[in-house]
């Protein structure tokens, strides 16, 4: 048997990494209500609980008609998405609702499901359980063409305060609106540095496109990615005794990323979704001194970026310019005047046409810094240097520019290397 050292198998997970989760930590993670309590105390956002049921009497006396249009009924200690009922909206008659697949559920059916939950049908080891009703987080528009009848969630594995692997879980027709892989949801790997999706996998098969919309799976950039990562690490800080933790997060339209639940025994399929072995990453992170959540996120981004991440991050942090750019020059009257400029990496200083400078009122004596004789392709001439503020690709640049007669040239302004720090220039555009 070939010995694989980087992939995390179940044996290694259970013996080497679950020991970081104490009994107390597991107790919190295994109860969704207790998790919510702890996270709320630490100031972390979770979906609102609308009702809790501890005894059958509470189920029977509850007035279901007062519930909002959509909600989710969940077992407190359920696992793998079992026992969850997702209600989409009110049906025609009072006391009836539509589920995600447009079938109708009545109060009596909801009630009996709640009683089943209390009896322990869906709990770990079939212990008697609690049930609760939670607000339903609606699907964000960017996910609409990626999911089927349900809201996707994001699983992040955090170890030693560093996010090590992440995946997006997309509900499918088979999973009936639930985002659990055991129910048939699609697992999509996410690059930790950029929050861009990489590969998809469903029931052990590689997917490149969403089967029912033909939408490409990779290349989706998740909004608020930093917040997702930070929030995941903050969960580990908020609940002690969960050193090896899976955090399930969801994206709300107004409130941004929120924590759905914590998992003390995160599954291993996330490795297949990312095509990345987990054990190698855990070993790189083990024993690091991590100050706080921000620090942990920074470490993760530095260590575990996909190969394309540099390029993407460079494009985000550093603006790219073409050869011809419209800049806005601030006139003496503090007006922003659009001017066509050529990006010229062969020149040191930026220069502006004398006529244009005059027009903008920039050649008043108090604005001229100095005059100097320059040698250039145009022969020897005396040029003024003036202070100028202009806006290039959204950035404000305060600099000193030369004034030259450029009326006969294509651009009344060229921008030189002195003012191009922090930009990339595409030679052809």
């Amino acid at each position: 048997m070939a010995k694989s050292t980087h992939v995390l198998g179940i044996n290694a997970r259970n013996r080497l990494y679950l020991k970081y989760n104490t009994q107390e930590g597991r107790r919190v993670a295994d109860s969704k209500l207790l998790t919510k309590k702890r996270l709320t105390k630490a100031g972390l956002p979770t979906p609102q609980v609308l009702a809790t049921f501890r005894t059958p009497e509470e189920v029977l006396s509850f007035s279901w008609e007062k519930l909002p249009d959509n909600f989710v009924l969940k077992p407190c200690s359920g696992f793998g998405g079992q026992g969850i009922v997702i209600v989409k909206k009110k049906a025609k008659w009072a006391g009836e609702w539509y589920l995600m697949d447009d079938s109708v559920i009545s109060v009596s059916e909801l009630r009996s499901r709640a009683l089943d939950i209390l009896a322990g049908q869906y709990s770990l080891r079939n212990q008697p359980d609690k049930a609760f009703i939670e607000e339903r987080i609606r699907i964000r528009k960017i996910f609409r063409r990626y999911t089927f009848h349900g809201t996707p969630d994001i699983r992040i594995i955090v170890f030693n305060k560093v996010p090590v692997l992440a995946m997006l879980r997309l509900p499918t027709p088979e999973s009936k609106g639930k985002a659990n892989l055991h129910q048939g949801a699609i697992a999509v790997g996410i690059d930790l540095a950029t929050g861009i999706t990489t590969h998809g996998i469903c029931r052990g098969k590689v997917l490149r496109h969403i089967p029912w919309t033909k939408r490409k799976i990779n290349g989706l950039k998740l909004p608020h990615w930093n917040r997702f990562l930070t929030l995941a690490v903050q969960c580990q800080e908020a609940v002690s005794g969960l050193g090896f933790l899976g955090v399930d997060l969801i994206l709300d339209k107004e409130r941004g990323p929120m924590v759905l639940e914590l998992n003390a025994r995160p599954g291993l399929e996330i490795q297949n979704a990312n095509l990345a072995p987990l054990k190698k990453r855990l070993e790189r992170v083990e024993g690091l001194e991590v100050r706080d959540a921000e620090n942990g996120v920074k470490i993760a981004k530095a260590l575990f970026a996909e190969r394309f991440a540099d390029r993407v991050m460079a494009e985000e942090g550093i603006k790219t310019l073409g050869v011809w750019e419209m800049v806005k020059v601030r006139s003496a009257q503090k007006k922003k005047v659009p001017v066509k400029a050529k990006i010229d990496t062969g020149a040191w200083r930026t220069s502006i046409d004398e006529g244009l400078a005059h027009e903008l009122g920039l050649l008043r004596p108090e604005n001229i810094l100095w005059s100097k004789v320059y040698k250039s392709g145009l022969g020897q001439e005396e040029r003024e240097s003036i202070e100028l503020i202009f806006y290039l690709a959204g950035r404000k640049i305060k600099t000193v520019v030369n004034v030259a007669t450029r009326g006969h040239l294509r651009a009344p302004m060229i921008i030189g290397r002195l003012d191009l720090g922090g930009f990339l220039v595409k030679p052809r555009k």
Binding site: V7, G9, I10, N11, G120, Y122, L268, L275, A276, P277
Partner: protein, 222 residues
Amino acid sequence: MIIQVLGVQALGPLGPTNFLKHIIRLALDSGVRPEMILLLFLLPLVAALVSAVRYLVGLQGLGIFTPVMLAAILWLSGINPGAYLFLIILAIATLARILLKKVRLHYLARMALLFWFVCVAVLMALFWFKLSTLSVLILILITQDFIKVQINKGWRIAWRLSLETFILGLIGLVLLSWPLLQRLVLLQPEIMVLGTAVLNLLLGRFTGMRLLEHRRFRRLPK
């Protein structure tokens, strides 16, 4: 008969290396059936095997108790009646569950009704198969695990796990009826007992990949 192998073995004075041999001899002399001795020594080995299959191969089965008991039943009452009754019970449990799916019942009431179905079916089956009371009881008992999995995880997973359990039971049967092992138990019980314990300790510390995981994670860079 397997017991005859004991006749040729000479026992020295009682000591730490042969006290089990003395106990076996004493038990047999006082009328304990040899199958009992074999069962008591070999069932822990079957259990270790079940855990080995779980941790080295990745087959799950329905826990550890169920396959071990199944192996014992198959050995005691013969492979055919045991296997048939096992399959009949599973089929009835599945059918009953499908029947009861439409009826909304409390969890325990539903479980109890499933048991009712199973017992009626076993009653019918007993006309064809000769099985001891204990075997029938244990078979009914292990249905509980099956029904639980079926209710919680659906029939597909329940049948997969049952099939795995059945395979484990068959492997256990092979172990139990292997003459070499039987002789080892009777002639060198100390080695058997110690060996089983060591095997369990080693298995319990194993952190490598399971055989089936190599397939599951075959796409990952090694």
